[in-house]
């Protein structure tokens, strides 16, 4: 749509600003349809232990056209920096990809990330040559520290993971966006396309969505809806919104209205 408007992460250039997760889909067929409809170019996956002695089965990687998507393995489920670093290394071995969506989440109820552990793990993984995309709360000071540590993006949350509550952290997101030196990707909690559009309108560079698509009544339709919402928000950001007014301002000229000589008192 804007061929010249591209997003660069870790030295790679993307035209889509919508990242999609692959969790919670009822089957691979629906998942592939949603990925297709979303136009996404970056797809997150998880690392899990092989069920021992279980019969073999078709795997996720067989279901994905790896030539079309940048894989983004996550460290979901890790509670500490140490676990996250180890899972990132396993992910790299399993995929051959050195990108990682870094999640260090000690809290099972709200799934909120640990700022200190996330920063420590990010420093370690950058040193090991990973392209690190850390999941964080919308903390501008932490975001700058992660930039200095060499992270490729910062991914602040909109609301709790999988809640679909929308962009409830706009007040802090604007402080993260202000003067950011790496792409800001709003991740977690987006429920509808207008949430994604709001993030892009505010200046976010991209969004990541999973549950809102996978749990929609029609995941493929919703994937397309999010693609459109992200494009709408980005286009509006580039076009420059009107200034808000406190009062009304007529859209039609005030002069020259064919008034009646003596208008009755209204109502």
């Amino acid at each position: 749509m804007f061929p010249q408007d591209t997003l660069t992460i870790g030295g790679q250039v993307f035209t889509s600003r919508l990242m999609l997760g692959t969790g919670k889909f009822t089957d691979f067929h629906v998942m592939r349809g949603a990925l297709e409809a979303s136009g996404t170019q970056i797809v997150t996956v998880a690392i899990r232990r092989v069920e021992l002695k279980a019969p073999g089965h078709v795997g996720l990687l067989d279901a994905l056209d790896l030539s079309r998507y940048q894989l983004l393995p996550n460290t979901a489920g890790c509670r500490t920096a140490e676990e996250a670093v180890r899972v990132a290394r396993l992910a790299r071995a399993a995929t051959g990809v050195n990108w990682v969506k870094l999640e260090v989440i000690p809290d099972p109820r709200w799934l909120l990330p640990d700022p200190v552990g996330t920063l420590r793990a990010a420093e370690q993984l950058v040193e090991e040559g990973f392209t690190v995309l850390p999941y964080v709360q919308p903390d501008a000071v932490l975001a700058r520290a992660l930039e200095r540590a060499g992270c490729a993006t910062v991914m602040p949350l909109a609301s709790p993971i999988g809640s679909g509550r929308g962009l409830r952290t706009g007040e802090l997101l604007r402080t993260v966006l202000d003067g950011a030196g790496v792409p800001i990707v709003v991740d977690a909690g987006l429920g509808v396309p207008s949430d994604a559009a709001q993030a892009l309108e505010a200046g976010a560079d991209a969004v990541l969505v999973n549950t809102a698509v996978a749990e929609a009544r029609d995941p493929v339709g919703m994937a397309q809806a999010f693609a459109l919402g992200v494009q709408a928000g980005r286009a509006a950001f580039l076009a420059g919104r009107m200034a808000e007014r406190d009062h009304a301002s007529p859209s039609s000229p005030a002069a020259g209205v064919p008034r009646l000589p003596d208008p009755e008192v209204p109502v």
Binding site: T22, K24, T44, A46, L52, A94
Partner: protein, 64 residues
């Protein structure tokens, strides 16, 4: 010996390939760690294992 978080019976002379065979794990699209050594499925060495080894066998699944 520990495999994927569970204790696993160790026997003298056990190798990594032998372990995967007896666990019925085909090496495509998995990754293996023995302690701090990480191996892609395609390049898993047939290294001998020791009783105190901590072994991890993982694969990619859907996630957000």
């Amino acid at each position: 010996m520990q495999v994927n978080g569970q204790p696993h019976p160790y026997r003298e002379g056990l190798t990594l390939h032998a372990l995967l065979r007896e666990l019925n794990v085909s090496p495509e699209r998995v990754a293996v760690a023995v302690g701090d050594d990480f191996y892609p499925g395609a390049r898993i060495p047939d290294r001998p294992l020791e009783e105190q080894d901590v072994i991890e066998i993982v694969r990619i699944i859907g996630g957000g």
